[in-house]
Amino acid sequence: MKPAPFAYAKARSVAHAIELLGADDARLLAGGQSLIATLNMRLSHPALLIDLNGVGGLDGIVSSNGHLEIGALVRHAQAERSAELARRAPLIALAMPHIGHPAIRNRGTIGGSVAFADPAAELPACVLALDGELAIVGPQGSRAVKADDFFKGLFETALTARDVLTAIRIPAAGAETRVGFAEFARRHGDYAMVGLAASARADGKQLRDVRLAYFGVGSTPLRARHAEQALAAGDVEAAVRALAQDLNPPDDVQASGTVKTHLAGVLLRRVTRQLDQAPP
């Protein structure tokens, strides 16, 4: 299908984008790899598209003060090639090849993926697993929201209609950082049936600060908090059993909730093996 008619404006700056967002029914356009698909299918029909591409200063990958800041307009392909990202955010580097296909990654952006908040998408779960925060600018100025508070519901985030997501910020990986990532998808690059992004801190033989973020199992990426505790106590099988408490995935076209819960356990065992190893 073809999109319903809309007006188009190119933002010159973040401030200009916020000003343009004052119009009724305005939407921000970044990589467009989800938004334009929904326009084509007429699942959304904004009155105005505000194109962020070309706004300066949003496409950097910068380390400072123990954090890595990834600009919202960094494209997946750029992130995939970044040595800085591979070193400071190995979880995102692991997830990157699973995000769409090469042509999608050439165009799609980090910020767009997080702001769109598809519950089966990889990056929102990575930001949640890494205890990251989202840098947001709105009419009242800038603020930061922790990932734990950012994902509110199905395609719903802490962003208001006048906000622009400008960057994601995550703690930079250190020598004791452990990460793991795995997903099941029908075809490589498709949205996952179930996926898991995980991070932890190694303390001798033990894992501490375990964060397990599942995706494709609910309306948002979800932390499996009982399983996190069991894993920190060193009991993988108890962690797998605890998933029954943590997750209650609804049936969807790809798999029943029962199958998804089973697969979540399979992923947990696989990811735990990754968490037990120091990165190369």
């Binding site: 073809k2 188009y8 790899q33 698909a37 084509n40 090469p102 042509a103 690059g189």
Partner: protein
């Protein structure tokens, strides 16, 4: 400038192409309907099938997931342009020799996507070829012949570099 219609100038296969476009027009529809280049195909229109693949400023993208108005000032290359430069003649010949196409609907997208992988250099494994082409559907061949063709060209280009 919050308008529906916009004046743009896009360089299409090396030729500056001015046009007035409706903001809702996708790049692939612009190329097919306004420029008359019908080698890029419209399949699923939501980024799944890869038949609309074109190059924008050197990178392969989905022509259905980009708006024509966004390409103002950009260099767009379609299968017609890339074939004319003879950049992929060996790949086209290998597709024919190995029956890597039947109806041909996916072929322009397959060629551009495969060329992006081959241009990165080296000889990719069959698994790497599969993963790189995973976003391009083919409903005729079963993919084996396509992988064969891409692999053969990778090996041929690699060995000709060595001599």
């Amino acid at each position: 400038m919050n308008a529906r219609f916009h004046d743009i100038v896009v360089t299409v296969n090396g030729e500056e192409t001015p046009a007035t476009v409706d903001a809702r027009k996708t790049l692939v529809d612009f190329l097919r309907e306004d420029v008359g280049l019908t080698g890029s195909h419209v399949g699923c229109e939501h980024g799944v099938c890869g038949a609309c693949s074109v190059r924008v400023d050197g990178a392969v993208v989905r022509g259905c997931l980009m708006l024509a108005v966004q390409c103002n000032g950009a260099h767009v290359e379609t299968i017609e342009g890339v074939a004319d430069t003879e950049e992929i003649t060996d790949l086209q010949e290998a597709f024919i020799a190995r029956n890597a196409l039947q109806c041909g609907f996916c072929t322009p997208g397959m060629l551009l996507t495969a060329q992006e992988l081959l241009a990165a250099g080296g000889v990719p494994t069959r698994e790497q070829i599969r993963v790189h082409l995973s976003g391009n559907y083919c409903r005729c061949t079963g993919y084996q012949a396509i992988i064969d063709a891409v692999e053969a060209v990778a090996q041929a280009r690699h060995s000709s570099q060595g001599t």
